[in-house]
């Protein structure tokens, strides 16, 4: 026993130092490799940012494990793989980047010890392994059978705490015209796409082999496409931000001026309860008139509501076409109180404001009290586009796409253009 004493004393000292070290590290962000210029983005007073990695590929959504490992979905394969996995060093910079998974996609999230991933036609998952950046790379299929479509085909998803996964099934159309996207073509009435698309579907989060159309159920309808969706655990409610319909002026020039087509309709922020109908394709939301308007494809005159009375209004309306591609409620404690339980929304930037200037390309913050916004939205992170004016979206240097809250409360932002990854920190 005596011989163990010096070792145990040594161990105690070691543990003591280790604990002090951990406390010191967790109490300061001094070790983080903060960029002097915040990696080229503008942030509110008190915030700063570092660049975790760059050139990751066409980044979409992002998720972060409790150990700090980062996983990013790519919508174009890189080195033949669809997911980027990143281990960071103590400065927060990427120390190891590995690619895996054979499909490209948008949705990604960690849940119950698995990494879930949404390709455009299936939701599957990989078992995470302790001590390994890469999970078990044999996928388990959770839901399959989503139609292969060529517009609004992303499958973003989120989880509740009652065993369910919610998946956006975007509508493969602009306004349910047949043929789609042509001038002066009426909408099909009733729109047959709504049976299979244009809503949020709910499935079991832990049951393998579910088939869309046979298993699960339509949770909400009349949602054209919501790449941004998130479960708010504080209020136990689903939220999503919709991409509004395109080309009002091009297809109905006698009703809508070029300016109308550029500004309308709103991108709508939805609070979603089971069974709600938000009105697509029959209706859109006019943020100036502050009401749902009957779509011209269904006989609307750019002003009357018609059958849209009773369709669910948004809880907030954003300018047209700026492409909300991710929403995350702030669940961390690092940021000041104002941000807690509020929503960050990444606006990817528009393409449908041509020939006028393209807008968006920023991350907005929406303050919340309980279930609803408690004030107007503000631009939280800006400067991604790297130029004064963007006339065509590809002129933007970066396009903010995915958001995640790290275990320490940092906000991570992905870029779909160059594959840059920022980590935003609040300086104490």
């Amino acid at each position: 026993m005596k011989s163990l004493r010096p070792r145990s004393r040594f161990m105690t000292a070691f543990l003591f130092i280790a604990v002090i070290g951990l406390i010191t590290e967790s109490c300061s962000n001094n070790k983080l490799a903060i960029s002097k210029d915040n990696g080229g983005i503008k942030l509110p007073e008190g915030f700063t940012a570092m660049v975790v990695a760059d050139s990751l590929g066409r980044a979409r959504h992002i998720t972060i494990n409790n150990n700090g490992d980062i996983y990013i979905a790519l919508n174009q394969l890189k080195h033949g793989k669809g997911i980027a996995a990143i281990k960071v060093d103590e400065g927060g910079k990427a120390a190891k980047i590995e690619y895996f998974g054979q499909y490209s996609g948008t949705g990604i999230g960690i849940h119950k010890g698995y990494l879930y991933f949404g390709s455009d036609t299936a939701i599957f998952r990989y078992k995470l392994k302790d001590g390994s950046l890469l999970p078990d790379t044999t996928p388990e299929v959770i839901v399959r059978g989503f139609h292969l479509e060529f517009q609004h085909s992303s499958k973003p998803f989120t989880f509740d705490d009652a065993g369910n996964i919610y998946v956006t099934v975007g509508a493969p159309a602009n306004a349910c015209q047949q043929p789609d996207r042509q001038a002066h073509i009426k909408g099909v009435d009733p729109c047959p796409l709504l049976a299979d698309f244009g809503g949020i579907w709910k499935f079991k989060d832990d049951v393998q082999g579910q088939i869309k159309g046979k298993d699960g159920s339509r949770y909400a309808t009349g949602i054209r496409n919501a790449v941004a969706l998130d479960w708010n655990f504080k209020t136990s409610t689903l939220y999503a931000v919709q991409h509004g319909r395109d080309q009002l002026h091009e297809f109905w020039p006698e009703l809508y001026t070029e300016n109308d087509g550029v500004n309308l309709p709103a991108e709508e922020f939805f609070l979603i309860k089971e069974g709600m109908d938000f009105g697509w394709p029959y209706c859109y939301y006019d943020q100036d008139k502050k009401k749902k308007i009957l779509a011209p494809e269904y006989g609307g005159n750019a002003d009357s509501a018609g059958r849209c009375k009773g369709k669910q209004d948004p809880i907030m309306a954003f300018p047209g076409h700026i492409a909300p591609n991710c929403v995350r409620f702030y669940t961390g404690t690092m940021f000041p109180e104002k941000y807690q339980n509020g929503a960050f929304i990444a606006f990817h930037g528009s393409w449908n404001r041509a020939p006028q200037e393209q807008l968006g390309f920023f991350v907005a913050f929406v303050p919340f009290k309980d279930s609803n916004p408690s004030g107007p939205y503000e631009i939280f992170a800006d400067g991604f586009k790297g130029t004064d004016k963007v006339m065509s979206p590809d002129d933007a240097l970066h396009r903010p796409m995915g958001l995640a809250i790290g275990p320490d409360g940092s906000l991570y932002i992905t870029d779909s253009k160059q594959g840059k990854l920022w980590r935003v920190i609040y300086k104490k």
């Binding site: 490209s104 789609d180 042509q182 393409w351 020939p355 006339m391 590809d394």
Partner: protein, 158 residues
């Protein structure tokens, strides 16, 4: 507006290019009967006139997706400026305009997944004009699409 100016300057560059060709043709090719149609109008002259007509069609029906500078939108709408696929054949270009296109394509190593509506409501001349604008206004591919070619393919589709 700077993009429109760029487009205009690209257009005027092409115009100069075509004008030079026209000069070359008129200096050295006077006896080439193929360069003039029955009315005695040189094809290149017709083309340069039609480029502006093609640009108007482009602005009205193509610009909103493919953008003012013709560079398209990453991941969704492929570029038309600097897209070597346009050189494949006149027929394939005409088919795409008349029937539209859906699915995944690759241009210069980038994937694009999207949908283009059929534009079969455009006249043969409108289709050839807009294609000539893509080929010789947004690009300098030295190719020309005739409205008779559009007419032939339209019959095959029907």
């Amino acid at each position: 507006m700077s993009i429109l100016n760029a487009l205009k300057s690209r257009f005027s560059y092409s115009f100069v290019y075509i004008f030079l060709i026209f000069l070359l043709v008129s200096c050295s090719g006077q006896n080439k009967s193929g360069s003039k149609d029955a009315a005695g109008v040189s094809q290149t002259e017709t083309l340069s006139k039609n480029l502006s007509a093609g640009q108007e069609i482009y602005k009205k029906y193509c610009l909103s997706c493919h953008q003012a500078n013709g560079k398209g939108v990453s991941g969704m709408y492929p570029p038309l400026a600097g897209n070597p696929n346009l050189k494949l054949s006149n027929d394939s270009l005409i088919y795409i305009v008349l029937r539209g296109k859906a699915g995944k394509i690759q241009v210069n190593g980038n994937d694009y997944v999207g949908i283009m509506a059929p534009h079969n409501y455009l006249s043969d001349e409108q289709v050839s004009n807009v294609l000539n604008f893509l080929l010789n206004g947004l690009n300098n591919f030295d190719m020309q699409v005739k409205s008779s070619e559009v007419s032939q393919i339209r019959t095959k589709i029907k």
